[in-house]
Symmetry: C2
Subunit: 491 residues, 2 copies
Amino acid sequence: MAKVKKAPRPKAQTPKGFRDYFGAEVTERADMLKTIAEVYHQYGFDALESSGVETVEALGKFLPDVDRPNEGVFAWQDEDDAWMALRYDLTAPLARVYAQHRNDLPLPYRRYAMGPVWRNEKPGPGRYRQFYQCDADTVGAANVAADAEICAMLSDTLERVGIPRGDYLVRVNNRKVLNGVLETMGLSDDKQRDDVLRTIDKFDKVGEAGVRELLGKGRLDASGAYIDGVGLSADQAEPVVAFLTSKDADVAKTFANLQDAIGGSKVGSEGVGELEKIGDLLAAQGYGADRIEIDPSVVRGLGYYTGPVFEAELTFEILDDKGRKRQFGSVAGGGRYDDLVKRFTGQEVPATGVSIGVDRLLAALREKGRIGGTVAAGPVVVTVMDKNRMADYQTMVAELRNAGIRAEVYLGNPKNFGNQLKYADKRQSPVAVIEGGDEHENGVVQIKDLILGAKIAENATLEEWKERPSQYEVPRDQLVAKVREILDLNS
Amino acid sequence: MAKVKKAPRPKAQTPKGFRDYFGAEVTERADMLKTIAEVYHQYGFDALESSGVETVEALGKFLPDVDRPNEGVFAWQDEDDAWMALRYDLTAPLARVYAQHRNDLPLPYRRYAMGPVWRNEKPGPGRYRQFYQCDADTVGAANVAADAEICAMLSDTLERVGIPRGDYLVRVNNRKVLNGVLETMGLSDDKQRDDVLRTIDKFDKVGEAGVRELLGKGRLDASGAYIDGVGLSADQAEPVVAFLTSKDADVAKTFANLQDAIGGSKVGSEGVGELEKIGDLLAAQGYGADRIEIDPSVVRGLGYYTGPVFEAELTFEILDDKGRKRQFGSVAGGGRYDDLVKRFTGQEVPATGVSIGVDRLLAALREKGRIGGTVAAGPVVVTVMDKNRMADYQTMVAELRNAGIRAEVYLGNPKNFGNQLKYADKRQSPVAVIEGGDEHENGVVQIKDLILGAKIAENATLEEWKERPSQYEVPRDQLVAKVREILDLNS
């Protein structure tokens, strides 16, 4: 208290790139996480919750496009000058957890995790620095049956949270196939390899002809800018094009095409074999191409994938900011990463998993009108006509709550009754309860049906208004019964 | 990939003071949070989720015993050199949120929030740097009816999560009464005031005589160390002692004693009046002294409280680390803080709320055997006898799951069958399913009741062992029915 100088008022603002979530935004997310956890649990996955903070050395540098250790993360030094950081995903912490507790954990270890992650990246529209992920991973299973299981579970999960079959597709590819293609091209130059990968990633946008141009001399893009090409000859580029166009309605044909694209590459052949096995396992369980399909154009940015990669896309169309139709796009992705635990232990521990972008999935469900939009469950508001009788009003709300009805007493300044009704309106209250001195004397309460009241105010003729009263006087001891009756009518 | 030097292996460790939570630890907490949220929601409170990161200036410096802005918190500078920090509680963010969004929020604003908070404090046994809080606050209600409501809701919440009446007590006091006592003592010296407050906080431990000594010359404590006293005369100390000993079985007598202790202090009298009103409101709703009581010895450390303060204690005894009996102690606390929003807006906005220490409450329920300890819901494990028939095994688990049974296929190296059963054991599986080549040919599966098997292995005589087989052979199409039968028998 030695400080005398008065500090200026702090600004009431979320830090740049962060936001607050209110009411249904919070509860709808919690509900979705609970549903997803139920599916994961059913599949034998166990919950894991690690803390938001990890050592920078444990996190490593696996963010896409990030080279320096604490670029892309929020990091600081602890009292011993060691660097700590907020986790940027749930996979790096899993690798650390598994390495740390491996003697106590079952092998294979199936775990799920859900919670916020943080990225120190430039925020943008709909792009925040804290967001939720919901992951499931299997550590210690080399068999691609583990990958197939993850894909099946992802499909089940999407349907369970409310994305109907036909509105999504889980697309599966294999990094090894891609590596086989690059091998058969004989690219030794790392930069050229990276350029080719980047080009493959653009296939969805520019199509086959565009990819040919970009692999060759270059291409004039839609904005009129000239994009330099990778500089390959048409012959050299052929395996990439063959790979990208290998998808066929007949999955056996797809595999044959892939086999062609990889030439004689051993790793490529291994990759095609794994994809076939995943396809067979899924087909045997009835997951057809309407839910999960082999798609060679899936690349996934992260460098740590070593085998199968998968992505869940929502295939229905929405309007973007500029009113143009586009597919909703990716809501989940993952793959096999056999080297992450090895970082810690030196021993290779195969692992595979998926991460669901919960906030994007919620946005999709809102877009489709599958959550939100229902009548908000505002509380019954008991108004205060005489502030000395607060105990009576609190007793009313207690009675309502004990009957399972959400209820509250107005706790602001009760002087202006209009403010109380405005408050009830802002709270989206279905019912207001009024008990002034006269009512108290006569042992009655007034019960106002605010939803009906609002409808009448909007539409009714004078006759209807008179015929359909939205306010009822009932004996005090019928308070709960009458409120319930109104709630039932409106539900 | 220009880097050539090989980095040393990172350590697989949680940062100091952090920990990982596994399985039931995670789901039991999630279940408790869900239950608490239901009670809060029923009382008309709306969910709010702010991010873990705030600006240091918004957080302010309200941690107990912390003077410098970013002491006690984890803080770092963002790209504009502004200081950011992890929130240390959910109250400071609420004040920021309310100030930022006040034009859109109802007034009063009842909100609940739950999530991790972080403290950069010395970790200790059971004391972590990240832990969960679960808060409910009412912003914009000056009436102490809001405080009474919080106390009633806290009592309801504790019972709902499984603390029976009689095993807890919500204790209520009022800072204004304490201020009245200090005023009537005529202490102008801040240091002396602080010393007196600290002494009051020790009343539970040292009792009336001890407090008298500590307010006077000093006291020899149990360890043999001499603790300097505040240096007051016996007369000066009298109001403090009168205040601390004012609690009477007859609550009217308690209030009379408090009135004596505060002498003629205006603020003290206001405080007693508020306490009486809270007592009346709670009594009218049937919350008696078996649930909520007025207790002048409740102080609460935080400097920002301005009126009523409350604390929920669990009153049952547990054994401490040294095997001594002690009360479980505090699991929740809160109070009225009328100045927190004012920091931002300049306008006084009354507020009151409570924070539940979820992890301590979980520990209490585990201590009482109210959660955990039941048979863990391990998955049914389908073993792999022939790795080329993985699709068949995955189909089995899919059937089981579709019937609502948690199930998984063994995904490790299937070579050693013993390892598969050890795995099932580690997973606390109730049932293992076995289908080798012979079974497959004969269209049957073996189903092993692992719980019964373990019991028999532990207790049974040879006859019993023979009489109660724990392994059954059933036709393949009766797999689900037989597994369900065994699960039902064991549940």
